[in-house]
Structures are given as C-alpha cells and as structure tokens.
C-alpha cells in the first residue's frame, strides 16, 4: 500500500466525519461537552486542505502530516489522541504498510497519551478489537465490524476517563463518541483499501 492508498483512506475518513458530524456531536452532548463532531470536522477539513496543497510521497510522511495537522487544529482531548495515533502510525509504517502493525502502534499511542484501559468507554474500546482482528488475520471489513461491535459495547458502560466520567452512572446508555469516530476510521479503511492488507 502506497501513499495514494493512504491518501484515499484519510479523505474517506474526512468525508465520513463530515457526514456524521451532527451524530458525533449529539453523542458528545449526551455524555461530554458536545463538540466532538465540530472539532473532528475542523481537523479533518484542515487535513484534506493539507493533502491537496502538499501531497506526501510516502505513507509515513503522510501519517505524520495528518498527525501534526490534527494536533494543531482539533484541540480538546481528541486532538492529542488522534494526533498521537497518527504520529505513532508514521513511526511504525515502513516501506510497506502493514495495517495490523501501524494500527497496533496507534492503539499503543492512544493508551500512552490518554492512560485509558479497555472498558473505560473510550476510543480504545473500538480500536483494540479492530487491531486484535487484524492481527488474527481478519480482513479490513471484519476489523471494521469488530470496531463497530466494540463501539456498541460501550453503550452500557460507565465512563472512567474524560469529561464523561463526571457523569458517573449517568454516562451509561450512550455510545462513546470517540469509539464512534474510531469506527469511522476503520470503516473508511475497509471502503478504500478493501483487501489490500
């Protein structure tokens, strides 16, 4: 997989974020501070402009630019978390992108930055099962499905990290917005990269 494929993946992620902006914000209003959709859309819009203006030659360079752009544009907690994830993907991407490897690096980065564990009702709950699926040899469609299952499994959970944790028991009953946007990242990969992996 080359830079062109990664470029298509990120653009599809940006499109899905824009299309689901209101849903992400509604989820975040229920248990957070109601800005996840707006913030992610602002960041991914900047990413697409960057990709238009400065095409990157390698997947690694592209992941790095995406990470830096998200850190600079998103703010909140999502900026550092997604930014760190893409910077770690840049470091893990060699000449040939091994998606299981780069997404494992992304997951490790998110855990290191946010100090969340599985079951805390965060991005980790969708990303971890997707990475596990890829490492077990599943294709991207199955990995995206695993992420979606992980997202749905956050609904009954009580949040232990971020602003949602202030709600205690009241945070149960809603899907986590971060797990929802991570699922879009995997869905975008399945749509654009197919079975390249």
């Amino acid at each position: 997989m080359g830079a062109e494929a990664v470029d298509a993946w990120i653009r599809e992620f940006a499109r899905l974020i824009a299309a689901n902006k209101d849903e992400l914000t509604a989820l975040d209003s229920a248990i957070g501070d109601g800005d996840h959709g707006t913030n992610m859309d602002r960041g991914l819009t900047a990413v697409v402009s960057m990709l238009d203006a400065e095409p990157q030659a390698t997947p690694s360079a592209l992941f790095k630019k995406v990470g830096m752009t998200l850190i600079s544009k998103v703010g909140g907690a999502s900026g550092p978390l997604y930014g760190t994830a893409f910077l770690r993907m840049a470091a893990a991407a060699g000449d040939e992108v091994d998606l299981a490897k780069v997404l494992r690096a992304a997951l490790d980065g998110v855990i290191a930055r946010g100090k969340a564990e599985p079951g805390d009702k965060t991005m980790v709950d969708a990303l971890a099962p997707a990475v596990d699926a890829l490492e077990a040899g599943a294709g991207l469609a199955a990995a995206a499905e695993a992420a979606a299952k992980g997202r749905d499994a956050t609904i009954p959970l009580v949040a232990r990290k971020g602003r949602a944790s202030y709600l205690g028991e009241r945070s149960a009953g809603h899907a986590d917005p971060g797990a929802t946007s991570v699922t879009l990242l995997l869905t975008a990969a399945a749509t654009t990269l197919g079975d390249q992996n």
Partner: protein
C-alpha cells in the same frame, strides 16, 4: 438564542479584536490566539502561561499583566487550546528563568499542555513545569473519574503564583507556591440555568424553572444533584458544607473567600451570597481574611455561582495583597 454576536464561528476572533482595542497594554497575537503581557519576556522572571477553552472570561486573558499571568491561550469555546498556541506563548514569555504552565484539570487541557511542554523542551530547551489545578469538590477524585475539575482556585493560583514570580522567585519555588494554593483551596458551584454555546445555539442542558443543579462544572457538566430552587442562605450551605467537609479550614490565618458569578448572575445576588457564606464561616469559627466577589471564571451566560475557599497563611496573604495590574484584576498600582 439571543446573543451579541455577528457569526457564531467568529465569536472568539471578534472578541480578541475587541480585547486588543480595549487593552493596548497587552499584545494580542490574533493568528495564534494568544494574549501576551506588553513587556514580555521579562528578563530573569519566571514566565506564567495559562489557557483553556474560551467562554470563562475574564479567565484567562483578563489576568495577563504585571503581578499575574505573562500569557494566556484562548481555545475554542469550552475546548482546550492546541499545543502550537501554548508553544508560541511559552516562547514569547521565556525570560531565561523557565516557564510555569498553569493547567486546569480537564483531559484535553492536560494532554495539550503535556504535548506543548514536550515540544518546547525538544525545540529550545526552555524549562517548563506544569501545575494542575483541581479544586472542585463536586467531583469524586478516584480512579474511576478524570479527577477533580479545575475551577475557582485557578484565579487564586494565577494571582498568587504571579506575585511569587514578580518577587523574582525561581521556577521550582513559584511552582511550589502554585501547588500550595491548589492544595489549600476547595470550590463548589451551582447553576440556576444552563449556558448556551454560540455554535450550538441552544442550552447545553435542560434545567426546569423550579430546579437548580448543585455541583455544576464550568462547562455545564452535570453536578452532584438537582434540587428545588432554595433561598440564598440554604444555597450557601449546600456549597460551603461540602467544602468544609473536605478540608479543615480552622486553625490557620482564616480564609480567602471567593464568591464567583457564572456569567448570568448579577453582582447584587453575589453579594447576597457572600453575606450568607460569611455567616456560615463565622459559625464555623473561620475568619474571612480577604475576599473576592464577582464574575471571574464564568460559564458563558449561565446563571449561578461558585464558592472557593483558600486556607490562608502569612505568605499567601502577602502574595494575595501584592500589586497586580491586569485588565480584570487591578489593585495596588
């Protein structure tokens, strides 16, 4: 939604233009959305940088000036600023004695300031120390939450640490003073109404006419419980009792008592509240050594207030009394 704005998307940039016009003594970097003390960097002085989501004005930009902050970073409404802003602010105020980051305890703020400190240290070698403010007793501090929120004590930390830096103390000493203020301060807030974020256009949460939310956060995060609206004396008790239950305020040199407005409550009601707070403290045998009453850390147009008590000693009172010259807090100059 009725607001004095042009376009919800431009509220922060428009407000910064107005801030710059009203306060020519500070520098406003509109591109980075940072406000810097006019004479920064002050050589040999520890630089103080804070910042956070917008919507809490006058915090933080209103506290930039001699005796308080050297720079403030403005994020989107209720959203942490990004590391680029914090890096630019840190570089602008580095007078060779290091820079203190004052960070309110919210997940986004913590992570963005953490990244900024890593970037500054990797780039320039400027020493950065971070102090986290987490004074809100409404939140249980446990492994199962993001910890206590940073609220009213932030104003006191910025004032007192600012005075310590103005005295020429070292970075580690200024950080210790800031941590001491945080350790001895506790807050609790209450909302009578929700706030309305301009981009959202509608109230963040529903609060029926006859009810109020006790333990509210400064972003409209929920509190401990909803109760029927009560007279000021009962409200004061709902706010002060959990504070006194969390820290022993007796036996020192009294307290600095701070009654803060959330943005939509008139000053006359804050003075009604302050009277009730002082009566409760008098009954508990806790003298009020100093006071602060007014909207200093707000939540847009939310109606309500918070109470912050800081257990004082000679050092803290002396630093509290030191001159300060900022747009929102000015005395002794």
């Amino acid at each position: 939604m009725k607001k004095l704005i042009n376009d919800p998307a431009n509220v922060i940039s428009d407000a910064l233009l107005g801030f710059a016009a009203a306060h020519p003594e500070v520098r406003v970097d509109h591109e980075n959305r940072i406000v810097v003390r006019g004479d920064a960097p002050v050589q040999g002085k520890v630089g103080l940088v804070s910042g956070g989501g917008s919507g809490h004005e006058p915090l933080h930009a209103g506290f930039v000036g001699p005796g308080m902050l050297d720079a403030a970073c403005a994020g989107e409404i209720f959203t942490s600023p990004v590391p680029d802003q914090m890096v630019a602010a840190t570089q602008a105020v580095d007078g060779g004695a290091g820079v203190l980051h004052i960070v309110k305890n919210y997940t986004g703020d913590i992570m963005n300031f953490e990244l900024a400190a890593e970037m500054v240290e990797a780039d320039s070698g400027t020493q950065v120390v971070s102090v986290v403010v987490d004074d809100d007793v409404a939140v249980q501090d446990s492994l199962y939450t993001a910890g206590r929120r940073g609220v009213g004590a932030t104003v006191l930390v910025e004032k007192i640490a600012g005075a310590a830096a103005a005295e020429g103390r070292s970075l580690s000493e200024v950080a210790d003073v800031a941590r001491k203020v945080n350790a001895y301060a506790r807050s609790m807030g209450l909302a009578l109404t929700s706030c309305t974020v301009p981009a959202a256009g509608k109230p963040t949460f529903d609060l029926p006419e006859g009810e109020m939310e006790v333990g509210i956060g400064i972003h409209g995060e929920p509190g401990r419980r909803r109760v029927p609206v009560a007279p000021a004396n009962e409200i004061a008790d709902m706010l002060v009792s959990p504070i006194l239950g969390d820290l022993d305020f007796t036996g020192g040199d009294g307290v600095i008592a701070f009654v803060n407005g959330m943005g939509g409550t008139p000053l006359i009601e804050l003075y009604v509240m302050f009277n009730e707070v002082t009566q409760i403290l008098a009954k508990a045998g806790i003298p009020v050594a100093r006071s602060l009453v007014g909207p200093y850390i707000t939540s847009l147009d939310m109606a309500g207030c918070s109470v912050t008590l800081l257990k004082a000693d000679d050092e803290l009172l002396r630093l509290w009394d030191a001159p300060v010259n900022t747009p929102a807090l000015r005395r002794g100059v």
